[in-house]
Symmetry: C2
Subunit: 146 residues, 2 copies
């Protein structure tokens, strides 16, 4: 994957995040890509599903495994607009995800604070892709709700 | 909750774990209880669902939230036969689970190794309930598969 690809797919994840915001969900979006093919697109649905586990990443991982017919995402990249939480980092690890690319850091709830070694040791991590746009979406969402 | 209640509900979780073993799943079972009412029973379904996120705890949390019609499990106890992994600990935290009672420790994949502070600070944790029976089930499962 080159930087141009990462930007392209992060924009797709941002589209998902905007869909979440439109539905009153905390705007986080995710996309799973395998060798140039988008296997899954998902956004946070915790409010709609009344389910704290319905983060964008969890749904993207489940959907990608369905699309592949295989549990492991070793040849896949997961793009997500915000740094995954501990729960999602655990799921990313179980899926043996090949690459994780995220946008904005989450200093309060991000996995790097609570579980810096939670990911699979073979998972390549790229952070900060379109970080400002990804963070702005979340900040804007919470500002409007206040 | 007293010790007798904890034993009773852990036995229910063990029944779920045995169901998992009967289906060829790693035998982990979970039960969510709220004021003496069992809201959810679940067991590991990662093979059947081809989904690494389908741990017993994840399903129990989702099902309990459905039963309650509320996202948070502040008045609930989650019983699980094995120490939760990082992913499940994150979910238990998001659900603001009132109590977590588990059986066997998981020194390889348990949350206490990777994310000891992952749980919600208000979650009361009780470990080691029927630990030998819970661990024996898992050991027996893997011994038979070798």
């Amino acid at each position: 994957m080159n930087q141009k690809d990462d930007l392209f797919y992060m924009k797709q994840a941002l589209l998902e995040a905007r869909r979440a915001a439109d539905c009153g969900e905390v705007p986080v979006g995710a996309v799973v890509v395998c060798r140039g093919v988008v296997l899954a697109r998902a956004h946070n649905l915790t409010e709609a599903l009344n389910d704290v586990t319905a983060h964008a990443e969890m749904q993207a991982i489940t959907a990608a495994a369905n699309a592949l017919g295989a549990k492991y995402l070793t040849d896949c990249t997961l793009y997500v607009t915000v740094e995954p939480c501990v729960m999602c980092a655990g799921a990313i690890a179980w899926a043996q995800t090949g690459r994780l690319v995220f946008g904005a850091a989450d200093e309060k709830r991000g996995y790097r604070k609570y579980a810096p070694d939670a990911l699979h040791p073979k998972t390549e991590v790229v952070d900060g892709v379109m970080a400002e746009e990804c963070a702005a979406l979340v900040k804007d969402f919470f500002r409007k709700r206040r």
